[in-house]
Symmetry: C2
Subunit: 226 residues, 2 copies
């Protein structure tokens, strides 16, 4: 469904806000992947996870630079998202490598879906930029076979990991609601403002349905019930 309003400028506050949120997400993705590397025992896993972590960090610095290029106070806008993302990560600290990998794959998957969904409502230049930084970065390629093999060796872990996946999705939705409440500008990008409320809310529920379906696909790809 066509949107009634599309933000067309890379300097619009909600677009700057969105980039700040994505940058903070990439920074935390870097930290999470590096911790996965620290939890891994074998060199192959450490090397693969470190490489993905540093790609995410590269995206983080790219977004910071872009925010500076459009004249935004990059430090302030990205910094403003650190408390809420810190809280998400404190609430979803993995107890072992498998939980860490699931968090990386499922959590960053949800974040990527969310970013790409919202990117539909921003100017084409920002959208193209977001598509470039919201790539998978090789996570699926590493995580999916790794978790599949671990589950083949220890099928009993599937129940615990399925529960963990549902908890990650629940925490992600809770944090998204907090972001929407704290940032009306950003929420308006998706659900519309006073002049576009109906269409926005209908589209918003479709967006949530698509994100839930993608999440379920990722869980199934790991051999876990969504």
């Amino acid at each position: 469904m066509a949107r009634l309003r599309v933000k067309v400028s890379a300097t619009d506050p909600p677009v700057v806000d969105l980039l700040g949120l994505v940058a903070a997400g990439e920074l935390f993705a870097f930290e999470t992947l590096a911790r996965d590397s620290a939890l891994a025992k074998d060199l192959d896993a450490k090397a693969a996870l470190g490489q993905i972590a540093c790609r995410e960090f590269g995206h983080f610095t790219e977004i910071l630079q872009r925010l500076r290029d459009v004249g935004a106070d990059a430090d302030a806008v990205v910094g403003s998202y650190l408390p809420i993302l810190s809280q998400f990560h404190a609430k979803t600290a993995p107890r072992d490598l498998l939980e860490g990998l699931l968090k990386t794959y499922v959590g960053d998957g949800i974040a990527g879906d969310f970013g790409r969904e919202i990117a539909a409502y921003v100017d084409p230049d920002t959208r193209a930029f977001l598509d470039g930084v919201l790539t998978d970065d090789g996570r699926a390629e590493f995580v999916v076979p790794y978790v599949q093999q671990a589950l083949a060796a220890d099928p009993g872990a599937a129940g615990r990991l399925a529960l963990w996946g549902r908890r990650l999705m629940g925490e992600a939705l809770a944090q998204a609601q907090r972001v929407a409440a704290d940032r009306p500008d950003l929420a308006e990008l998706v659900v519309g403002g006073p002049d576009a409320q109906g269409a926005g809310l209908a589209e918003f529920s479709q967006m949530l349905a698509r994100m839930t379906e993608s999440h379920s696909d990722r869980m199934r790809a790991l051999g876990l019930s969504p």
Copy 2:
């Protein structure tokens, strides 16, 4: 004092062993710096620490590549050092960002000194390569003023941190002794073999004295008693 024997080939087992040890050290430095980033609350610190972490990871991949280029089994040689370095890091897990930063600066400082000292005994090409990967990578530039400011705000932390610095040095020496015991080839690079024992041991004690002095200099630069 001139050494009686200098390893002149990049494919000599002790040279390969040394590169493997340095690679494993860079990988753990990456993980440690990324955890420092996770412990940091402000964006500036996270951005600076993440950048240094990814430089270290870059050095790790460079060394892996070099080991492969000289025909060594890079995964086996680097992987063989993971258990001993994991033990060091498990024994020196920082409780907060200040302890983490001190560990990064002091611990990686000791590791760098050690690598450069041993590099004196390998072929010039390997030595030049090691000089390139054993750079400071911006650690001192970030850590020294950060710790100095933290100590100015909370002078009472100096005693705890000085103790932590001494513990790091003690654990590093304990692990170095384990490496020397496990890897006679590597130890022979420094202390000499049966045909060069006296000179080697004299030089070895001078090397330890230089490393201890560098460590003390770093502690003093932070405003801590060595």
